[in-house]
Amino acid sequence: MPSELKIANGRVYDPANNVDGNVQDLCIRDGKIVDSVSRSASRIDARGMVVMPGAIDIHCHIAGPKVNLARKLMPEDHRLDVHPKTAVTRSGTGGIVPSTFATGYRYATMGYTTAMEAAVPPITARHVLEELDDTPVVDKGFYVLLGNNAFLYKLLKEGRKKEFKEAIAWWVNSVHAYTVKLVNTGSDELWKGRKNANITDVNERIDHYDITPSFVTESFIEAAHELGLPHPPHIHCNNLGHSGNISTTLDTMKAAQGRRAHMAHIQFHSFGGEVNKNPVSGAQEIIDYINDHENITADVGQVMFGKATAMTADAPLAWMLRNVKFDKWVNADTECESGCGIIPFSYQESIYTHTLQWAMGLELFLMSKDPWRVLLSTDHPNGGSFMNYPKLIKLLMDSAYRKEALQHVNQKAVAKTVLPELDREYTLNEIAIITRAGPARALGLKNKGHLGVGADADITIYTEEEDREQMFNAPRYVIKDGTTVIKDHEFATDHKGKILHSKPGYNEDIATEIEPFFEDYYSVKFSNYAISEDYLHDHEEVPTNPKS
């Protein structure tokens, strides 16, 4: 017997289908949106409520070795925020880096039904898949870190672009990734091999490889384009957090040469000013470029005041923060593939740079001309917890609230921004774009982020409230794959989401090139490296669109 559900008379926000607050019914059968359902379908009366597709986090850090190290690192944070079990859900701990179960449930309680883990060294992908299997409710996928990969660098150095493309596809397939991730390209070799040095310029030569970060980035964008990955390279630029890094960021976007590229947590890369001096806002220049270039998508990586955790494959960045804060610090080098740094952090209103970053994020949102391409994120937990999203939505939707908030922050920093002059208020439709329809489009998820026939029945229903933070903090219903997971604000059942991954086509001969490299420089056997599909459990292959 098919399971059927009708959501009746809700005010629907479905920007992908040009539905902007129209009162209409939604019909669901077997986890998908359909035209109509039988009269015996169960029914939710959504009269007076706001109905949106389930939200999608395009960039967060929720599973895998670095996340787990951060969990282990902060018992003091977990104990302040316990997550008790219920009759239908598992227990856990919260705080800035929640346990897996708490992560899935908490995303769901904010109306999120999909979340993408943004940085996974391939050798640890098995771990990520195990954790994602224990992350309930949401659908999830991950981006595989290839931007500092020693073997791929070797191919680029040898000028073998074709093999480079094949090897990327081999890696994405072998670990079941969604797309490729580049982080501070070129820095790993300097960090590990030149006594903790860092890349400072996208055009400098990377030690031992005679190639530049700019060339690496360009090559990845080109290869991903040809492979037709559903989401383009997800790029964390060089020089994160350094004054004047806008020039690096602009250079990186230019390296795309009109091809699709996604710029991660763009706020962290929008610093004006001069090196080694206090930063100023460079948001205007960055957003101008993005507004004018339709090939670019970005998530903002908004900073929210309060607790955060720097958790990044950008090891030199974490080291820089460590030397500011001298708190406990984690560094974790992954052979041939990645670096990693973790440091507990908090953003404070009184501190110049922290306020500047908070304001810069808001500037980027408020000066964006295309909500489809400038998407909501806090780079959880780097800019703050994903639990801050409702508050961030309120900051965007309510200019009076924003003006009030401006009173309590560092005024010197505010003076370096145009934030006080920005009166724009996001509409519900625009919120639905930056949290649902936009991420789905950027990710190439055709069945998500909208409520048209054939879409996944991932739906959130909110009681409309003037206080948007309160509203987005507690949806009345959350429906995942047609199942009412949250009913009247309470969990009605547990639910396992699925893994989203892509399988770009490639010539399998490339494996014979990669294998000898493994024997020499890896510590695991090549034959034990690729991950069996058993680890995917329930999963969905998102189609590629190769250009040949």
């Binding site: 996340v67 316990v82 701990t93 705080g95 897996t100 098995r126």
Partner: protein
Amino acid sequence: MPEAAKSKPKESKNIRIVKDATCTFCGCVCDDMELTVDLDAHRITKAKKACVLGRAWFYEHTLEDRPVVLIDGKEATLDEGLDEAARILVDAKFPITYGLSDCPCEAQRVAVDIMDTINGNIDTTTSVCHGPSGMAFQGVGESTATLGEIKNRADLVIYWGGNPAESHPRHFTRYAVTPKGMFIPNGKKDRTVVLVDVRKTPSTPVADIFIQVKPGKDFELLWALRALVKGKKISEDIEEQTGVSREVLDDLVERMKNCQFGVLFMGMGLTMTRGRHFNSGAIYSLASDLNEFTHFVAKPVRGHGNVTGADNVVSWQTGYPFGVNFNRGYPRFNPGEFTTSDVLARGEADAAMIVASDPASNFSKKAIEHLEKIPVISMDVKETHTTRLSRVRFAVATYGINTGGTVYRMDDVPISLRPAFDSPFPTDQEVLEGICQRVKKMLSGSKARVAA
């Protein structure tokens, strides 16, 4: 290639070769074994590349003639065993689970589920292994690396309080001392190896420099090194305190500051002795400090095949690595309060489920005495002191030999196992899932244990 690798058939007819199998005996988790399996005799007859410990592991795990389930010493069916185990756990007020470091993550995940369901206490052998290092990590963090990076780059390798030659024989040859790496073209010739211990061991000959520290004085020695690295004064009588001269310390400090990529490996000689987590914290801090001069990492040399997996699983499910209590309906962590050695020695636990470990042999006298008084459920591949005193004992298949699954190497690298031959015994995971289902069924409805 596989054709050539097939060894010439001996007398036995039914031979299988398993290439790139993984040895789970110790935390090295070497995944390059080539096993020759006699499928008729149900045993591994050859384990190419295995060390002496690995060979013993592979050769000695055969199919023993044991009942799958014993309840009070009497043979029973698997269902009876699972029913009785579930009943014991549900009836208990302070049920505990302990062990878990010699089974795959898939089984560990179910064990945490059971304890979450019955508001029990979960702890792993980490608490009596590198638990103190886990606590130190919470305090100061860690600069670390996967073993391949050490193979590729480390030109200064320091072992402190460990004897890998006897406990992790291939640590030297596969990962950290002799192998050639990307920037270590000549292997051992390109590295300086230092060993710090209270006594000479079979590991000592590997070292270029051997430093003998007085027992229980590791912390003092480490703290002096930290001070010297930072250019601070240390006490004049350092040699009298620690047994190590100022000259030796100065030399070591220069080597550490000037190497290209240094690593400090720590053994249980630090965690099990005076100072415990302070010793581990001193190692971590020393390595972190050295990053102001060069690239430096530290790493505990973990013991059991999947103890690192246990840390990871318990951490991702609860937020804490070991010593976790669910009594209030959510995880709480407190070493000393919820660690097994303590809950047994204080006589608090009133039922215990022991998976793949032998506390009845390794724990303190007081803890063992209490274990003898309470109902114990055990899962093990061999008879042990613990299985002997158990009310319900399950004989299970050996992970990595009879079962697949995931294990984590000491550097958190996850590896999938390739089983060599089938076993009639159930896996840990199957037994735990059976118990889990029954426990959930028994507690469903009015008896559900929700948050207090």
